[in-house]
Symmetry: C2
Subunit: 317 residues, 2 copies
């Protein structure tokens, strides 16, 4: 993606009328605790409850009528499935979503409410993903990857474009990294417009495939443990285009442990009145580690979503 | 306040650079359940966690240097105290806040972090309020009422001004009513610019002083029971200027019971990923009652704040 900046700018034009330009707000309690100016980019109030609508909509809006008629297929047990369903609701098109056994009934109901047809397949998300790809190939439908797609990445990058306008003097931005679509889009765009901004990618130590891959110099498989940051958990495709983008555009990589993520969730909830999902709390946990060298700096945390189960919230409080 | 519209427009100019123009977002799950188009005005992400900063800042920004030097005095155990402290942090001035015994240590710490000096006085909020007024009189300071002040009302009214731009075709707006500052400002402004908009004032049945007063045709004292909507609880001043404003500008008055408020809190949390305080949930509880006659209409719920204790959230989930 040599033209990521242009692709992001085009995506912003394309999806702008249908997404929320989320505000950036101060976090006074965190700022006074950590000694830097902490700002929060509120993708937790984005449509469908996460940033995923940006990439999904940018992708679906570029399908032809024939492609939409042939069907849109994806695999997800959470935010991405809701985002693709919503995107098809806006742009037109029929969506089939493959979810693994044991997927949350609340999330399935949400995808169905948005017009998606949900198929339960396979014992884990890897298997449901392969099935979705197989069905797309067999039926001539379009498979929409949650991150391994230039148009999805460009859509997520519109957050970077908004930030460059909303906080032109930011010193650093912290982004949760799973498959790397969000980080590729935001860091790629920001580095293109202002290389001085420090881009920090953060992941739970329990499942940090992209960080391990960047450290290894190639995409590697690693063991995955359970993490509160379910939105970033799991492995990455062998041919992930996000790998070179994250490798080249992230200045700093931070792993955080589960205790730190839980503590960050509570802090955002108690002190900043923000309801976020685990992946968003990862950014604050990472800031806690990096804060000593960021004293006096203006740091943006991307709060990527708010899709968290009330039972989990209850257990965390 | 014959010139409420002008006062609101002036307030918007005055406070605009220092407050967040909060977004309006769709609530797809509620819309499909209730059969009307439900929109949420997100004052729950406003600075200090509630709309109160609008009125407090509009007031404090109009004090002279001499008035600010003489001191700002208020009484509050929650949002208003934090808002006045923040307003003085922005505009300059020293703030003394009187809180009743038993006030939440977390809320006191928050007011102190924002620069306020907190004094614990009296066994209930009525007593701490009288003490704050006495001190202001004795010291020549300025007492800032949470609602019984034209400049505070004009500040809250800026929400109405934003709504009239953000949702020009709204059919109805639902506002929680306690002392009536928020409802006076929003309903007063909207009725001045478009009398066709239905303005609905909602209060917990456990503490509905303004509704009881409007029904009685004069300000009356009523018994108050405990309510999740602590932000709207309590009596209103004998000389409240909000009384005629609410009486003349609210088309519909709705009392809701505690079970309905709790259920509304859970719905906003679970289905719309919104963390709100009890007073904000009151608006959804009221919509549930009014929805049958609002089918197909575009209805805005003002989510007035997010200051709720994690322990309360835990017990509600």
């Amino acid at each position: 993606m040599n033209n990521l900046k242009e692709a992001v700018e085009a995506a912003a034009e394309r999806i702008g009328p249908n997404i929320l330009e989320t505000p950036v707000v101060e976090a006074p309690s965190l700022s006074s605790e950590l000694g830097c100016e902490v700002l929060l980019k509120l993708e937790n109030i984005q449509k469908t409850g996460s940033f995923k609508i940006r990439g999904a909509l940018n992708k679906v809006l570029q399908l032809t009528e024939a492609e939409k008629a042939a069907g849109i297929v994806t695999a997800s047990s959470g935010n991405h499935g809701a985002a693709v369903s919503k995107a098809a609701q806006i742009a037109g098109g029929k969506v089939d979503i493959y979810v693994p056994e044991g997927a949350s009934p609340a999330k399935i109901a949400n995808m169905e409410r948005l017009g998606g047809t949900v198929h339960v397949f396979g014992s884990d998300s890897g298997k449901s993903e392969l099935e979705a790809q197989r069905v797309a190939k067999e039926t001539g439908g379009t498979y929409v990857s949650p991150y391994n797609d230039p148009q999805v990445i460009a859509g997520q990058g519109t957050i970077g474009l908004e930030l460059s306008r909303q906080v032109p003097d930011m010193d650093a931005v912290i982004i949760a990294v799973g498959g790397g679509g969000l980080a590729s889009g935001i860091a790629g765009y920001l580095k293109a417009v202002n290389p001085k901004i420090e881009t920090i990618g953060a992941a739970p130590a329990a499942s940090a495939a992209m960080i391990a891959s960047i450290e290894a110099g190639e995409i590697v498989e690693i063991p995955h443990d359970h993490t509160l940051s379910d939105g970033t958990a799991g492995g990455i495709d062998d041919d992930a285009i996000t790998f070179p983008l994250c490798r080249d555009n992230l200045d700093t990589l931070v792993r955080v442990d589960e205790t730190a993520i839980e503590e960050a969730f509570r802090d955002l909830f108690r002190n900043e009145h923000m309801l976020v999902e685990g992946a968003a709390a990862v950014t604050l946990a990472a800031l806690r580690r990096e804060a000593p060298r960021l004293k006096g700096k203006k740091v943006v945390l991307v709060l990527c979503g708010a899709n968290i189960s009330p039972d989990v919230v209850k257990s965390l409080l």
